[in-house]
Amino acid sequence: MSEKKIIIVISVFVLVVFSALSWREMKFQTGTYRNGWWGIYFNDPKGSSLDFTINNESKPEKFSWKVTSQDGSTTFLQGTENVSSGEKRELSFSSQDIPQSQKIIIKVTNGSDGTEKDIYKTLP
């Protein structure tokens, strides 16, 4: 068997394997792996705005959210959102109805498995 044949066969095999691994990595970056993940964050972490974003990199798309006082006894605002997989949904609202000078918690719940996340700020 000539060396050229050996080199060609090995090169083609390596190329196919590399392409498969590249494709897999691209899917990791742009899609969901296993159950995926989701996150929430304030659009302005340093300021007093409560506008926030739900970043969904998981398969379930239903989320519910509420803006509450520190002890959770008072709910100022709430809602539900359908956030597609791969989407970042920004939520803006007026904080006129929210009392100042206290810790405000934003709690988001995944409608499918009930997992919760929260972020919070103390308004000036």
């Binding site: 068997m1 000539s2 060396e3 050229k4 044949k5 050996i6 080199i7 066969v9 090995i10 095999f13 390596v14 190329l15 394997v17 590399f18 392409s19 498969a20 691994l21 590249s22 494709w23 897999r24 990595e25 691209m26 990791f28 970056q29 742009t30 792996y33 296993r34 159950n35 995926g36 993940w37 989701w38 996150g39 929430i40 964050y41 304030f42 302005d44 972490p45 340093k46 970043n55 990199e57 810790k103 996340k117 929260d118 972020i119 919070y120 700020k121 103390t122």
Partner: protein, 645 residues
């Protein structure tokens, strides 16, 4: 998405061809006659030569103050390739062709099966590691990204947290020696030319390619070492078995690829090629081979100082053993070759090397005098030498047993063998590594013993193959018909048992790794997402502290900021604060572990840290109870807090 993927793939493979195959392939043709190498050797050696050529070209461009851009790199490499091509075409006479290296159909199939199975096993292991996230890789890619963004070679510096006179501060940049330029140029050249970002598949795949090439380099080295042995192809193919599909994940193989142990992997490709040229110089009396041996040696020192140092020790051992085992012949050989050693081409190389080191680029470990830290009595934990059991665990029983047998055969056969210098070379290579990793105090070398031992897998693979083939040949080739017949049956049975033992030992090692899934692309993606968020919201005055212990891919956080190698400030592994070697400040520990204490509050104030990124499961509790930390980001793994006062 598919179109973008295809175009990116096209750019990636074209870049690999341009940077890591073409220039070396044609340079080889420009210097040597076509029949000096087989096509196989030409491709493999050309690839190693291309890596060195690309590195040196970039260093020259930078020294000439030419910005390192896609066009300057690509045009320079193309120009070198074109000149080499025309010189090689001009030098060709008549129907020149490559030296013949034909394999039987069975041998060819065996080579293909061994290489492809090796690639497949490693690819399966790397299937979840192809998204970059390991610590070493993050550190290397930071500096590679500095080169790509600034278009120049950086000075390796970092800013440490200093605690002095009851004040904490971030110190001035201080030089570091941990990085060798060849490690970063490897990635930055690919990114600059292809346009592909660093947080992608290309770093791991580029390392995977180099690792695969290192196995082929060992194959051609074995063919050359035993060039006069009628069973050289069997030895070379069996070497492929020991370095290929067996123990294909253990360091320094796929685990190093996933871990981003860059310099080691590239150097493991260059070392067999360097030895190839030295042994060819001994076999033939051609200046060209010595020139390239020296060029590859120089390339080694611009890639990985540890491997370069190990190579020096191995080469010194080779010289000593050659003079001991072949006293008369060795010195006659030196006298005979001294004219070549003192030829204008070789002297010219040394002048070129001196000018390059002095005037073009001096490796950081020379400017920072890091060499003095590895010579002398052993001082650090993990540098004191391995026990035999640890050595066996590092390299695998099979390779140790058969490698040692090969070493014994080599020592026994050296005096009478026609391939004595080859046997001395591979024995010295293995012996030097054995000495440094098990008895460093004897040689007064202060290096990580486990890391040094990993190097032995390459020479032991050749020695193992040599032992098995020699044993089989002696048994099957006896002149006594009765002995031959008895031997044939006995050794056939023994050979089947041997192969079974070898395969079980090597394959079970692989299976152990493949059954576990130690890579978490989802967690890595969450670290990227949190880092991207923080880098977009933080200003230049904001300071971030994070954690190395519980954040996956934490070394990649700095790639989103590109402020300093040590930014963000990070809590290191806990023993680094108590070993009296690594850390002499505790701010980075206190700020994450105990943010509520007066000491940590002082650290926050003094250092200006106002953002913190931690693992939400392990380190959230201490921040959630503090009124001056606001949780501004939360995903499945990580929380980020903003400190208000």
């Amino acid at each position: 998405m598919m179109l973008s993927f295809i175009s990116q793939q096209f750019a990636f493979y074209l870049t690999l061809l341009l940077l890591f195959f073409l220039p070396g392939y044609f340079l080889l043709g420009a210097v040597f006659k076509k029949d000096s190498f087989s096509f196989f050797e030409h491709v493999i050696i050309g690839s190693g030569l291309s890596i060195i050529t690309t590195d040196f070209t970039i260093l020259v461009l930078d020294r000439a103050n030419i910005p390192l851009t896609r066009y300057s790199l690509a045009l320079s490499i193309l120009a070198i390739t074109a000149v080499a091509y025309f010189v090689s075409k001009k030098g060709q006479t008549g129907n020149s062709s490559f030296a013949k290296l034909n394999f039987t159909k069975k041998q060819g199939m065996l080579i293909i099966i061994l290489i492809c199975s090796t690639v497949f096993i490693k690819a399966y292991y790397l299937r979840n590691a192809v998204m970059p996230g390991t610590t070493d890789l993050g550190h290397h890619l930071y500096w590679s990204k500095v080169i790509a963004e600034t278009h120049h070679i950086p000075e390796y510096t970092q800013r440490d947290v200093i605690s002095r006179d009851e004040t904490n501060m971030i110190g001035a940049p201080k030089k570091i020696s941990d990085f060798i330029i060849g490690e970063q140029l490897f990635y930055s050249s690919v990114s600059i030319v292809s346009g592909i970002g660093f947080i992608s598949y290309f770093p791991v795949l580029a390392l995977f390619l180099v690792n695969t090439m290192s196995i082929l380099a060992l194959f051609i080295l074995a063919l050359e070492l035993f060039r006069n042995n009628p069973r050289r192809k069997s030895i070379a193919i069996l070497s492929l078995l020991f370095i290929g599909p067996l123990f294909s994940i253990d360091p320094p193989q796929a685990k190093f690829v996933a871990g981003g142990v860059t310099g080691n992997l590239i150097a493991n490709f260059l070392v067999p090629l360097t030895l190839y040229f030295y042994i060819r110089f001994f076999h033939e009396r051609t200046r060209g081979f010595l020139f390239f041996a020296l060029l590859f040696s120089m390339g080694l020192f611009y890639t990985h100082h540890l491997t370069g140092f190990m190579f020096l020790i191995s080469f010194a051992s080779f010289v000593i053993l050659s003079s001991v085992f072949n006293f008369k012949e060795f010195f006659a050989l030196i006298k005979d070759k001294s004219k070549l050693l003192l030829s204008p081409q070789i002297i010219g190389f040394f002048v070129f090397a001196l000018i390059f080191v002095a005037a073009i680029y001096t490796p950081s470990y020379l400017t920072n005098k890091a060499v003095t830290t590895v010579v002398g009595a052993v001082s650090k934990a993990g540098h004191g030498g391995l026990t035999l059991n640890q050595f066996r665990d590092t390299l695998g029983e099979t390779r140790i047993v058969w490698g040692m047998m090969g070493l014994l055969f080599a020592i026994f056969l050296i005096r009478k063998s026609a391939e004595k210098f080859s046997l001395i070379m591979v024995s010295a290579w293995a012996g030097a590594i054995f000495l440094v990793s098990m008895f460093p105090d004897i040689v007064k070398i202060d290096l990580p013993s486990g890391r040094a031992a990993n190097y032995a897998s390459y020479p032991l693979s050749i020695l193992s193959a040599f032992a098995i083939v020699t044993l089989a040949a002696k048994s099957f080739c006896s002149k006594n018909a009765v002995i031959q017949k008895t031997s044939s049956r006995f050794f056939l049975g023994a050979f089947v048992l041997l192969v079974s033992f070898i395969m079980i030992n090597g394959v079970s090692d692989n299976v152990g790794y493949l059954m576990k899934d130690n890579f978490y692309p989802d967690k890595i993606q969450e670290t990227y997402a949190a880092s991207s968020y923080l880098s977009s919201k933080m200003s230049g005055q904001d300071i971030l502290a994070d954690d190395h212990i519980y954040i996956t891919a934490d070394s990649f956080v700095k790639l989103f900021f590109m402020r300093d190698y040590n930014f963000p400030l990070y809590r290191a592994n806990l023993e680094r604060y108590t070993n009296n070697v690594d850390k002499d400040e505790f701010c980075t520990l206190w700020m994450i572990s105990g943010p509520e204490t007066p000491d940590s509050e002082k650290c926050f104030r003094d250092l200006g840290v106002n953002f913190v990124l931690v693992n939400g499961k392990t380190d959230a509790a201490q921040f959630e109870k503090l009124g001056n930390f606001q949780k501004v980001y939360s995903n499945n793994e990580l929380n980020a807090y903003y400190r208000t006062n």
